[in-house]
Amino acid sequence: METMEDMETLLGQGRQAIGLIFDPDSFTENKVGAKTFDDPDFGPGAVVGTAELDGKPVTVIANDADAFNEKFPVVYAGVIGMEEAYKMAQAVYATVAADAAKPKAEKQAIVLVVDTPGNGPGKTEEIFGMNKATGAYQLALAEARIAGHPIVAMVIGRAISGAFLCHGLQADQILSLDAKFGTMIHVMPLTSISRIVKKDIEVLEKLAEGNPVFAAGPQFFYRLGGVEEIVPTIEAMRATVIAHVAEVRGRKANGEDDTLGPWGRGALGAERGGRTVRPEVIALLEKELDAVASKYLPGAA
């Protein structure tokens, strides 16, 4: 058996990553709260279930790069198809429902193990609306996060564009294995961007040193606030996820929700110097609204 020290990458190994992050042998697949997922052919690219993390139950949502969805042939290698996205949404809603009566501090955490190259890019997907499936999962995660469930995403492989928006970017905090383990976070690789924006790749690489907004890789997302912390080794993953679940729970208990999720990443992006214009624009917009708001209130002429 491969030991952790031998592993150079977890890319394509979502199930193995579950074994490394959560308490040994604690993962029960296909059961979340009162919900069971009984059809093995339903959304096989999505792995959902409940595990224990440091002795506490957590909902696990991961990708299975080895699965192939026979019904939707564009879904393989970790692609999130329509069934996969709705299955992931069901796991989130089941988590929310199970804890509906619990106080905020006791809401079960959700850990997203992220390794996905994209959403289903097929004709059937467009006819029936792949956009709804991925949107549904994001709304479910946002609802759970706002309700108080700590959500931590751990990028172990690919976190690409729309699939990362779907599975990752609605979390409270996002962690990523260091790029040396083959992790990829991007909209497009720099070679494609180079073609589209018509700039030599060498020029772009040079520019990326000073400006992280277009280059591919977790280190650039870190500078933009898009990744909270880079995890330096595979061994460190488990302790880092445990620490961040606790950190998120603590911040929520202190009413610091504004430092978490997509909005919190905005502030972090400014703090790290990667996205400094965003807060200025938002503040200016609010100021300009304030100046005229009375004209638009009920009863105004």
Binding site: Y93, K123, E126, I127, G129, G135, P262, R275, R278, L285
Partner: protein, 318 residues
Amino acid sequence: MSNWSALQNRSFLESNARARAVGLVDEGSFTEFVGPFDRRTSPHLEVLGEAVEFDDGIVTGIGKIGKTPVFMISQEGRFIGGAVGEVGGAKMVGALKAARAFAEKIAKDFPKAKEEEKPIVVISFETGGVRLHEANAGLLAHAEVMDQFQRCRGIVPVVSVIGSKVGCFGGMGFVAAAADVVVMSEFGRLGLTGPEVIEQEMGKEEFDSADRGLVFRTTGGRHKYIMGDCNFLVDDTIAAFRKQLAELGKTPRAKFAEFRRIGSPELVEKQLKRVALAAEMQPKDARDVWAKAGNADPAALGNAPLDDFRKAVKRLTV
């Protein structure tokens, strides 16, 4: 800017973002936020030596339709395909957040406000999603917009308007679907993966991206109306969109949840029935699904004048 009355009968498709924003609300009522005079341009385009726009390709502001305050976000497809970067994304996020705060203020300070005096948010989408020149910042902005959508629920309704040349694709394709209401013209297109990418993935025999009819049948307003992904299918004039928005402005806010297609466990179950139908049918063409919905002659339906289409069409009830 041509005068407001002249805008009304203009094609929505042919108009630009500012004409849409101004024309969709009452004459003289529009106040733009972070407009061209503020010159908030993209620093990232500048670094790459690209042309910038003083509004970064997104018009944001507030106007009124009748008594309804309307927060407006209007994307400009003529500027880098309407793609969203840091500044434009921040304008969207800022406008949504401001709309929410405004709605909460009215609820608190004007407890007797009539329904039509409460605000709505209107987003005219014309975009392929993320602006690649600043891809990472654009991606992060998408997640923020989605988060704001969820936070707006039950506080201020969000209406997607799609009737532009570029359509609404990529990450913004799921943002638009996550709104409370979707209003389209037959020329509007909504999806996730653009036609060229599907062709690349599936081969030309399966999907020929040069076949305009096929592209429109797959993502166009008529198809999305049959699927229930678009709530209202209107004529291609600014006035027609405006009339629909005026009706929505008077609609009780509690009713907006009924327009939704996603956003609750129940809606997920409903959509999953359709996914099962997709697996069962393996449709070669959107017309197969139109027939399944009970339309005997899908080809004729697709070509019928819009009024006849609206009268005759049967929408999918699965």
